[in-house]
């Protein structure tokens, strides 16, 4: 049979951010997208290629797996396991009562104590959790938001009690409440007092713990909630600007705190789109800080970040495939110049990760440094026609989203009224339908399925109900042994400062040092601020999904 010559039709492709992808790129595409004006040199403005001149050649990325469960003693043992296996940072998972500002003996905590993270009621729990760990040698990241001011105070008090100099103490708190309203949901107070508390922590740390990063602005969870990669980064920048504005209006110069703002970004999906996202974001953030905020210190312009995770890309189906996905995500983070890396473990759709799964994630990151040459050369994809073009296009799209957000009233308004939430959930719904129809490919889910053999490959983490009772007993013991008058005085000061508008951190530090509990401090603040009431909206239902 004679075969007709056919004109080959190139299938049109767009990435998740909506940018059309060509089969081939050349120098003309780089020029047409804006050229190399924003490229620069590594370690120099606008930092597109990296925030340090030598990047990983000088210091490889920090490896910081998210860990914590049960009580402080259980978590302390797992921390030491990870440190013994070469981990270079700690990333503390806290249970939901702690994250929501609820004590372990509160009825709302029933069934939740120590389940998804470590239970923390008082300073006593931190003393146990960090026992024997050199807080001046390892950076500690606290995944805490609604209760962040209290837990930061607790960490500083714990370090001070152990004799560490707060001026040299490094570490991070997540403390990004605006993204909690969009996704993740561990809010406590209404939007405005919540932003005030973030401002209080930034202002306090700038003076007392200047190397501590009091905020890690999270595009991560916005992406998990349904945002595209460009929305993830653009809205994270809008949120970071809201916190910066809060601190600047108190008269703190931008260069005194901006260098300690950090970020947490997600990695899943198209490899090149992610790499371009990070390169584009570095240049855009530097430009925002320099041109809009008048920052002059290079550190104030750095997009310092933890990147990785990738929970939204992992699958319940064929969980062992997640080991491979994690390796690609780690590769992307390294190609993108992340300062710190963490990977969701292959078993996380099922359970708290086992030591076995945690070690696989850790080894994945170590292999990149030790075997694959990822730590040897800065920005290895720089100069690729495709990557440079896409970087320019992604940056332009992020700028468009920021302008659109500002024009609609700004991120604080759009989050407070539930607009962003409604929009990302509409996108998440559209994506779920696309996965179910097979229009958006997912290996092992809508392609190459093998049903029935998944769960038996995962070791389930045991939940010990007795530990909850022990936690409650420990809290009651602390309450009985502490000086009641000192606690009462400290809590009264917290309430008074909440009313007066003073920076709340000194009062909260005093209260945690007196062994006041997370719940007791939170309740005093709720008495003044009230509680957040969630706007429930589903009005974004159209295809275009404009704000």
């Amino acid at each position: 049979m004679k075969r007709e010559r056919q004109e080959f039709q190139v299938r049109p492709v767009r990435n998740e951010s909506g940018i059309p992808i060509q089969p081939v790129y050349g120098s003309g595409d780089v020029e047409a997208s804006g050229g190399l004006q924003m490229l620069g040199e590594p370690g120099a403005y606008p930092f597109t290629r990296g925030i340090h001149p030598l990047m990983y050649r000088k210091q490889p990325f920090t490896m910081r797996q998210y860990t914590g469960f049960g009580n402080a003693a259980d978590t302390n043992r797992r921390f030491k396991f990870l440190i013994d296996n070469g981990q270079t940072g700690l990333n503390v998972a806290l249970d939901l009562p702690t994250q929501c500002g609820i004590d372990s003996d509160d009825p709302m905590a029933e069934g939740e104590i120590g389940r998804v993270g470590m239970a923390v009621d008082t300073l006593h729990d931190f003393e146990v959790a960090f026992d024997g760990i050199d807080l001046d040698k390892i950076t500690v990241s606290l995944t805490i938001n609604g209760a962040a001011a209290i837990l930061i105070a607790m960490y500083l008090a714990c370090a001070e009690k152990r004799g560490f100099d707060l001026k040299t103490l490094r570490g991070t708190a997540q403390n990004d409440i605006l993204k909690e309203f969009i996704g993740r949901g561990t809010w406590v107070y209404p939007v405005q007092p919540s932003i005030r508390l973030v401002g209080d922590t930034i202002e306090y740390c700038a003076e007392h713990a200047p190397k501590y990063s009091p905020v890690s602005v999270c595009g991560y969870h916005i992406r998990e909630s349904g945002a595209t990669p460009t929305q993830e980064m653009a809205w994270a920048f809008c949120i970071a600007r809201a916190y910066a504005d809060e601190v600047i209006k108190r008269g703190v110069p931008v260069d005194e705190f901006a260098g300690r703002l950090s970020y947490n970004f997600n990695i899943f999906g198209n490899l090149f789109e992610q790499v371009a996202k990070f390169r584009a974001g570095r240049g855009l953030w530097a430009r925002i800080m320099k041109e809009q905020y008048g920052a002059t210190e290079p550190g104030s312009m750095w997009l310092r970040m933890i990147a990785g995770g990738g929970g939204g890309g992992l699958t319940l189906e064929q969980p062992e495939n997640n080991i491979v996905r994690g390796a690609y995500y780690a590769l992307i983070a390294a190609l993108s110049g992340a300062q710190t890396m963490a990977l969701c473990c292959y078993d996380e759709a099922y359970t708290i990760p086992s030591e076995y799964a945690q070690r696989i994630s850790l080894r994945t990151m170590q292999m990149l440094v030790e075997e694959m040459g990822l730590a040897e050369t800065v920005d290895p994809l720089g100069g690729s026609f495709y990557v440079e073009t896409l970087t320019n296009q992604m940056r332009a799209e992020m700028e468009r989203i920021i302008e659109e957000t500002d024009a609609a009233g700004g991120i604080v308004k759009l989050v407070a009224e539930g607009t962003i939430q409604s929009r990302v959930s509409a996108q998440a719904y559209r994506m779920q339908r696309a996965i179910e129809s097979g229009a958006f490919p997912k290996v092992g889910v809508n392609r190459y399925r093998s049903d029935g053999d998944a769960a038996n490959k995962v070791e389930m983490h045991p939940y010990k109900a007795d530990d909850a009772l022990a936690q409650i007993a420990a809290l009651r013991r602390v309450r009985a042994e502490r000086d009641a008058a000192t606690v009462a005085r400290a809590l009264d000061r917290v309430e008074a400062d909440a009313r007066s508008g003073a920076n709340l951190m000194p009062a909260i530090v005093e209260a945690v040092k007196a062994y006041a509990s997370v719940g007791e401090i939170t309740l005093r603040l709720v008495g003044v601020f009230g509680r957040y009431v969630e706007p429930v909206r589903f009005d974004h239902r159209d295809e275009e999904l404009a704000i």
Partner: protein
Amino acid sequence: MNAAKPIKVVLAKPGLDGHDQGAKVVARAMMDAGFDVHYTGLRQTPEQVVDAALRVGADVIALSSMAGSHLPFCTRLKPLLEAAGLGDKLWIIGGNLPAQDHDALRALGFKGVFQTGSRLDAICDFIKANRP
């Protein structure tokens, strides 16, 4: 049964779990299926779930749980639903629910148990087939 009357669903996020992406996606699928959906938002106590179901006159009480506290929550919820006269409604639960817990959830009265990865249409079809 009046076919023209939409099925009323109270969809709740029990306990302190803040992962609501899945619940909101399911809510949208139920709306597209023509159900009258009342999403409670986060941090619902068992008492609040019962109150919402009574207030709305729900045919279906649906929970979305991602953070592992489904068994203690449902154990507390079951007698409250029964005492409120909601024992004859359809109770379903979805989310991060390990296979080893499915029998216990069914024994507590949750007729539909939908693990992460369940198809949206499967959830809606189950409700249509099993509505009281």
